[in-house]
Amino acid sequence: MTAAVAITPSVESLQNTARTLRRHALRMIAEAKSGHPGGSLSSAEIVTALYFGGILRHDPANPEDPDRDRFILSKGHGVPILYAALAESGYFPVEELMTLRQVDSRLQGHPVLGTVPGIEASTGSLGQGLSIGIGHAVAGRLDGKQFHTFVVLGDGECQEGQVWEAAMAAPNFELDTLTAIVDSNRYQLDGAVEDIMSLAPIVDKFAAFGWNVLEIDGHDMGAVVAALSQARAHRGQPTCIIAHTVKGKGVTFMENDNEFHGKAPNKDQLEVALSQLAPVT
């Protein structure tokens, strides 16, 4: 692996990076007039911690490195925040972000393997990413490699049956090189998860399936970095991080307003949002 050893930046610096990713995501979605702001913003700290907090071992100059850590965004509709992280990491030019969902763009509305480097799986049909992550983790073990596989799921996504097939398999296979992070923003397209098909108690469910479960505030950058480090170090079983998040986090009028699950902000809304997400010095 050729990547330099990452020096973990300060929490303040990471918080600013998260703001940068949020601004990118909203600009992209506004330009495309289509996309999912709510679930992109709720994942911002998780994705920032992975890519910029010294968690993910990766080399943007060598995206096919067999020793790289794998990151799979199973909740594929949140891809704007991932594209932003990949661009800021150097996988492709930041300017390309504004081509989201445009004709002939590599940045499709849900991630597609083989389009831009850094995308590890085609997702968008919910419930499929954790299974793919298990495949990578098993492959790594068979090959004697040290890489870790991280999979981010949505809480609504956990209503898919396949998630629980995978949740059953990973502890059975003793995959301690696999970490699932549930971005638990409490909303799905049609409304509150609690009202539509409650997953409670989700911590108990994953624990009962044999996972090492950590529960954190998914917007507390220090806590996110610490939990991901802990997950990586944990031996004997896979770790599931239940990250309690706020849908639309960082923009006052989007927070917990499920209207912005899948609706792009208009020009005026974007201006207000960007001002709220300005870098803090």
Partner: protein, 310 residues
Amino acid sequence: MRATFIKALAEIAERDERVMLLTADLGYTVLEEFAGRFPSRFFNVGVAEQNMLGVATGLAESGFIPFVYSIATFATLRPYEFIRNGPILHQLPVRIVGVGGGFEYGTAGPTHHAVEDVGVLRLQPGITVIAPADYNQARTALETTWELDGPVYYRLGKDEQRLVPGLDGAFSLGRAQLVRDGDALLIVVMGSVAPEAVAAAEELSVDGIECAVLVVASVSPVPEEDLIEQLSRFRTVLTVEAHFVTGGVGSLVAEVAADNGLGCRVVRNGVKVPLGAPGGSEAYLLDHHGLSRGKLREAARLAVLQTASI
């Protein structure tokens, strides 16, 4: 067919450490040889076909060649969306092994009858679809395709005894095999029902009616040139498959005929009604759906008479 296939797979796995075998709890009495010889490369994922296809996708992305094994209906229909979004969309070397194509699980009932597996996979560009006619052809098919870059579906039978006369285990991607020649009619057959079709042709021969029989095991890629060559020789073609007549080899032959402006009539023999009643053994169900040698013989005789009167 499946025992031969797994034995051949174990031999390949001996040579290539990338080969893996996954099953969703249907390996009993079949997969032990592989599991015993390569325990680290065998996974029983439990009764969870969707996860099995997902795990296989991740394994293939990381450089392995995973074979996933189940009864044909469960291997193809339950995880169908994942086959589309995983191995096909990613163009990965995942091998889906479906056992018991057609009515091979006869008395187990319609949930176990795979009569649309070939159709649903054939309509996806980007996956090779192979339906061997006997166990020798299954072995050749595996040996010549296991290392392909993209995904493959193998539709296997369970029989390890019957051989299609004249086939001699021949298989070639994108080719069809003429196992018997004649001038009265062309029979195009797919899958393990092939011995019935050949038997029907042999019985007609006694009456002086000589039918040619073409085996299509390489369903995708389509054996276009071989089909054009053979279809062009006949006014009537009888297709035979333990599969719905829509989507399988009957559709395939009709497509090739239409695409190329060939003048032959296509008489499709296969399943034409919804599954359900009646229940019965494979032999009973094949006969019920017009696919026994006796029913095929009469269907062919009728087609020859109709052709003569056109």
